[in-house]
Symmetry: C2
Subunit: 377 residues, 2 copies
């Protein structure tokens, strides 16, 4: 099977780029002296995760119970469930642990800690808990300096069914940085927040063996990771246009793209239509933060080698994408009806999510493998 035989829309995964990306982050973790625990919600794929954990301790971070179950079935036992836990999810975690998984859960408030401490008495396994720290992203997490931190720590530590095993943060706001100086500052803010939280807990006589940071931009731009034990970047495996705009990679490092067919030309010849739209590309417009009019992805030829001038996906409907040129002259000769293009996505986590497979290429137009991946919840 060759790229020209793949039905559209489809995800094409470049294994050479994937290998290069995972090696780069492995080298980076080594340089920084921390363990690498890849966040696997980006690719949602066992084969990608095997490459990303090669030479590492093997731990991963997941976002959902379905990911936890899938990766356990695929042989990964050591994981953090990296979205705030609720009591109703503990029974599923317990089943996984009874079968041999080790699933650390996270929480960021005393109410949840109390509810989990009560619920854990019904479980057959002991639960390792990490406290989520807000390092400035203003999503989940307690402030390192808040009295709640110690309160949460004490509730966990005093429960016989719970073990307090550490703190973690995700500096999501690093995705909004516009300069290297800002990236370095956010990386330090992330490091400082969790390191300070760990120190606070230890000073209160509480254990805190794991001190975990996690975001691709901060992993790449941190000047050092003193007092940190592990990092959990995810999107670096595949990279995307937004990561390229951030300076985390070049466009040529993006390992995933959407293969789409040109199905028509606009009646006023101002656009071309492809059979990849809001579902196949996602509606993620994060690249707009860096470049107005960036739209929903940038367009290359079928082999993914040559950029199609300044053509991008300017708009999407459910199964239609609109290709427009930012300089107004659409190169129709390269966008013939029936021909196929490769669209590099703004945010690979969002774009890859609904597909159930990757068509894998490795330096030629041959499909060298088809890798199954997870979808849904």
């Amino acid at each position: 099977m060759r790229i020209c035989d793949v039905p559209t829309p489809a995800l094409i995964l470049d294994r050479q780029r994937l290998r290069s990306n995972v090696k780069r982050m492995a080298d980076r973790a080594k340089e920084l002296g921390v363990a690498l625990r890849p966040h696997v919600k980006t690719a949602k794929c066992a084969e990608v995760t095997k490459l990303a954990t090669e030479g590492q301790a093997g731990g991963i971070c997941v976002s959902t119970l379905k990911e936890a179950n899938y990766f356990f079935e695929q042989g990964f036992t050591d994981m953090i469930l990296g979205v705030g836990i609720v009591p109703a999810k503990l029974a599923s975690v317990d089943v996984l642990q009874s079968r041999g998984a080790h699933v650390r859960v996270i929480l960021d408030n005393p109410e949840t800690a109390r509810m989990i401490a009560e619920k854990v008495t019904e479980l057959s396994t002991v639960l390792d808990v990490m406290i989520e720290i807000d390092s400035g992203g203003r999503r989940g997490g307690v402030q390192w300096s808040s009295p709640s931190l110690i309160e949460i720590g004490r509730i966990i530590d005093s429960s016989t069914g719970l073990n307090l095993v550490g703190v973690l943060s995700h500096a999501g706001h690093s995705y909004l940085c516009k300069t290297e100086a800002e990236l370095i500052a956010v990386a330090e803010q992330e490091r400082f927040s969790v390191a300070s939280a760990a120190e606070q807990l230890r000073e209160a006589g509480l254990p805190c063996p794991i001190v975990s940071v996690g975001a691709t931009p901060t992993a790449l731009f941190a000047e050092h990771l003193k007092d940190i034990t592990e990092m959990r970047p995810g999107v670096y495996t595949l990279f995307d246009v937004t990561q390229s705009a951030l300076g985390c990679c070049s466009i040529d490092d993006i390992a995933v793209s959407v293969l789409a067919s040109i199905i028509g030309h606009g009646s006023a010849d101002s656009y071309a239509l492809v059979d990849a739209g809001a579902l196949a590309l996602s509606q993620d417009r994060s690249a707009e933060h860096f470049s107005e009019g960036a739209g929903y992805g940038i367009v290359f030829d079928e082999q993914g080698k040559k950029r199609c001038h300044d053509v991008n996906v300017s708009n999407v409907n459910q199964e239609h994408g609109f290709l427009r040129s930012r300089s107004k002259h659409l190169p129709y000769s390269e966008l013939a009806i029936g021909s196929r293009m490769r669209i590099f996505p703004n945010h690979s986590c969002m774009t890859a999510a609904p597909y159930d497979k990757y068509y894998v290429v490795d330096g030629s137009d041959q499909i060298v493998a088809v890798w199954d991946k997870l979808t849904g919840w």
Copy 2:
């Protein structure tokens, strides 16, 4: 199983509302004197489609080959593949037709017509082709008044492997109307465009038995559908917040919602976090067109009965949603950590797409059925 037992995030489908929605559109088609061919890309579900085609001729419209295959396996044989065809997809259409399906394909330009006419000689079945007409939406479609229309018609009609069976349009621009008068005008524009295209073809001596329009807002607001033979609305089965803003339904007609758990409260008490984010709700912001700050969905209690004040989903990350109040005072008593909310989506086609099932309720908190649905490509 009750709603409180469903793992989050999940899609809840209200069968009473679904039945009422499909009855309303069936009555509407009867009143307008046209056949109803539901577009099934909204719910992507055989059970929903069985209800939507009850009492109808049984034809459906699909957007992808995967939908065509799934619905054929589920017993639906009469379908339009409603996204512009490319030659590479004909082999799959031919396999389906060889097995007993009747798949009409659509195209809007002479190049595709010529390529299809050439390719069809390799197929074992004859192919019915419809010409897509642009009725003002500026997506796919040829203008009814363009000389290309007749050119396309002649290419199809003169090919022994192809049958010209009609014209169709989708007035996607009806989703942007802000007044009833605009909706009525767009409905008439859609009707007039395809009816005129049919007339042009017939005057040129070409056949045009099917004259098809298709969008929920135009189906509901058209004053008449003279010279039209069928309509293909889709989102009316489930409805959504955008359709409500358009005046096509009330919020109480929306049959699908996302069940999500409150996993935390913002550190400054300004937001609550749920475990349904950019993937589980989609990043569709179409409701913003009608109400600034509408965000990504509106929040009800777990039973879906009581709206949670003016709380909506203001922001999303991959698996996190941010609930905020538009009047600034978040009713925390109704948003306790661990409690569960129902989020009514902006655009149900986008929100439902990545889920593999609906948990069906029917007037109580009991889950009366779990309906499988299609995902991906």
